[in-house]
Symmetry: C2
Subunit: 481 residues, 2 copies
């Protein structure tokens, strides 16, 4: 496929994003409006995200299971806020096997209801608790405005669902999993995030509290990159999930849910990408090292390829390596191609390198001379391992500096209006929905979160930035995806 | 939960199966008719199946991707046989976001159509071929008679889809993947299978040829455990998937598809299970070794548990190990519980074993004294590894002997009718659908496959067992799931 030049991020961030997704072959548009096809390169990235998260879920005692895609419509009615939030977004199956169904079925938009229903059958005694489940799957929400990965009718995610004997345990779990997401974002994706609590108007439909990790994209917009909900006893009561406690009393369980989706791929693209295309964080990149052999004559080709294959086999023991041995495109074409696809390290090897028993390692995150180093074959593995760690650290540092330079502390409402055009505003807020709504109307910025201690000033906030009444919280306001 | 006694397989195989699935907590019935919930123990088994297959797919050059769940209804119309086969089974989404859709959408029953549509956009040149894809996901088929794992409205599977420049390559791929399934069945699940070709009336809707691996269950019924389809140019023409070949001609691609589903879990249960419950093949078992500590006094408990934890940590480096340290149930209860759940090896450790620095290993596949051995702690890992291999070999041998003893070579049509009550019939067949249909009507047995060379007699078949005309094929006839 021939494409026109990639627009720069400065020029048109949104179009840059769409083009990068399509050209790097992460995803494509499906024939049904708002649906996407995740292509092999995009899916390999998602598989690495899955592995990194799944390990963490299992290490914290969770087990995977699979609940049905199709949920009776009546289930949604049982939790008042939940149905208000999700009913308008449902895709509905009305016919099956050529017949009209007696009760229409929703394609799941999330699984609290069906899991609640099953738990009411399974949970009997305090000995059955806690129940710590996770599900990897697809869900459908009928969104109006869509964008590849960021908002699609069908998307892929994991949804954790847990049930506990006490409120305290459930609250602990909610925060534990938020911290798991934070750890994943920082240590796997090199994305710095701000954990915090959602305000009442921004919380999950049916939750008592919602916690979030918020990340700043390359255009300074915020993206909710993962959420964890304390559901209290809302679903326990709606689905009658009771257990006999050690004290011989019947009690309702306390539940939580938490999710992270293919949306996160959008965050990776928008946090690290540059005007050449993707820049993938090394620990999640489908290809960590691409080997580009360089030759002029047939004789050189044979000689260089033989070494390239040897180095590939050697590196493949520790890294995800691809040898680009295509002979109908030039090395220059390959360099651009793999830059677009964001491979962290390019290993170049030509006849002179073969003679000197060295190879050139070039960093995707640092184009030009300073990103290149000549490395002897001997010790190449360790050099690559160190380089991947360096790249991870550099990406994280860069994204953190970018964000810190774009977090503002406006003094006035007008100033808030200005700073959300170029970053995030951290300001006092009275806690009232009207003040949030006014910011949204005036400046298209929303309340992203009430940050945890480590991300807010030591002093208490004084006045609400909107109404001037005494402030209850520090809050981040920003435009968001 | 209290259950009545598990029925024996002899007594009521079908009820034995249902009870084992429910009691071992592999799966449960969902609130929607014919749908199932796969519980953590069942899903862990499926994850091990996925790993074993995915490795093989990647080793043969395939990449995973994800195509949408929702497919425009009109796509099915494009391939005549495909629509005839699948239209009656579709679940149809008619409403989304509170509105009636202009075109109803099918919940995918299989993805040839949507993948064909995307390929027509992606494939341009012979350099783009072959395309070797696989997808792990869920599909929905509106089945009338359902049974957990064996036939459910929604099921989980992988569907491979490949496109090739030539007929030969596509046919090779079709057989290669059938052999991958065979290798998986035999070497991971310890299930002997008979690979062969499906007759015209039994093939996949839209295929030119369908190949299958057929396994014999514990009640002697056959189960199609995996299929691989050579689709010719049927879908290429329906979706206009053309490429410019090296000879500068526009040509249609040749495609294949192949799938294996959660049905395979049903096969594992029905091939290996016994009257005590599940018997899981060691290479796929979610728990390979369960440690049951035995104590009488509190002092013993502390001492035994300390050793049990040490052994658990040691074994966990190489095996999937669970320590059952529950203190509100007896060791006898635990023995039964883990037998029901089919864990291949039970490690018992009591005060006397601690004193002697030994442990008892008990085999699930060989109850009673002959299945028990006392093993010193030193060298325990290797003893367990050997034992798991022995169990695998024993399960495979046992299932093969069971099958071989129940394959009959009837001489007459009447005899065929008798033998399919207690096994499979291998007989000559003229190749005509009428003769297959007559067997089905008279004896409820179907044509399972035309076996490959290694599973048929050296001599050519003489006469069709039904009509007496000259036979074209050897064929297996059996009752089937």
């Amino acid at each position: 496929m021939k494409y026109p030049k990639l627009p720069s991020r400065q020029e048109n961030f949104s179009e840059w994003y769409n083009q990068v997704v399509l050209r790097a072959e992460l995803a494509d548009y499906a024939p049904v409006r708002g649906c996407m096809v995740v292509r092999p390169y995009g899916w390999a990235l998602w598989e690495n995200i899955q592995k990194a998260l799944d390990q963490r879920f299992k290490a914290t005692g969770h087990q995977n299971a699979a609940f049905p895609l199709l949920i009776p419509m009546s289930f949604f009615e049982r939790e008042k806020e939940h149905v208000e939030g999700f009913a308008p977004e449902l895709a509905v199956v009305t016919h099956g096997g050529g017949k009209k169904l007696e009760e229409p079925l929703a394609v799941r938009p999330t699984s609290e209801t069906i899991i609640g229903y099953m738990w009411s059958k399974w949970i009997r005694s305090y000995r059955d608790l806690p129940v710590l489940l996770n599900q990897w799957g697809n869900v459908v929400r009928w969104e109006l405005r869509t964008k590849l990965f960021l908002r699609t009718l069908e998307f892929y995610w994991q949804e954790g669902h847990t049930a506990h004997a006490t409120r305290e345990e459930a609250e602990e779990e909610t925060l534990r999993m938020l911290r798991v997401y934070e750890d994943f974002a920082v240590n796997e994706a090199a994305i710095p995030v701000i954990p915090g609590q959602k305000s009442e108007s921004e919380k999950f439909a049916g939750a008592v509290h919602t916690y979030t990790i918020e990340a700043m994209m390359g255009d300074t917009k915020a993206l909710q990159a993962g959420t964890s909900h304390f559901l209290g006893q809302n679903f326990a009561k709606a689905f009658d999930i009771q257990f006999l406690d050690a004290d011989n009393q019947m009690k309702y369980v306390w539940t939580t849910s938490w999710g992270l989706s293919t949306r996160f791929i959008g965050a990776i693209i928008m946090v690290h990408g540059d005007d050449q295309g993707l820049v993938l964080p090394p620990r999640l990149a489908p290809i960590q090292v691409v080997i580009v052999p360089i030759w002029r004559s047939d004789e050189q080709q044979a000689q260089v390829l033989e070494v390239a294959q040897r180095l590939q086999a050697q590196l493949a023991e520790r890294f995800r390596v691809h040898l680009d041995d295509r002979d109908h495109v030039t090395p220059g074409f390959k360099f651009n191609d793999w830059e677009l696809r964001g491979v962290p390290v390019r290993l170049e090897i030509g006849p002179r390198d073969v003679a000197n028993q060295v190879a050139v390692l070039a960093r995707r995150d640092m184009p030009g001379k300073e990103g290149r180093r000549v490395v002897p074959w001997d010790g190449l593995d360790d050099a690559v391992a160190d380089l991947l760690d360096e790249i991870h650290a550099n990406l994280l540092r860069r994204a953190t500096e970018f964000r810190e330079a774009r977090i503002f502390r406006p003094e006035t409402y007008e100033e808030l209006g200005q700073v959300v055009q170029k970053g995030w505003a951290l300001a006092g807020w009275c806690g009232r929905a009207e003040c949030e709504a006014r910011i949204k109307e005036d400046f298209k910025a929303t309340n992203r979160c009430l940050p945890f201690e480590e991300h807010r000033p030591a002093e208490a906030p004084e006045r609400c930035i909107v109404c001037g009444e005494p402030a209850k919280h520090w809050a981040f306001f920003a435009k968001a995806y």
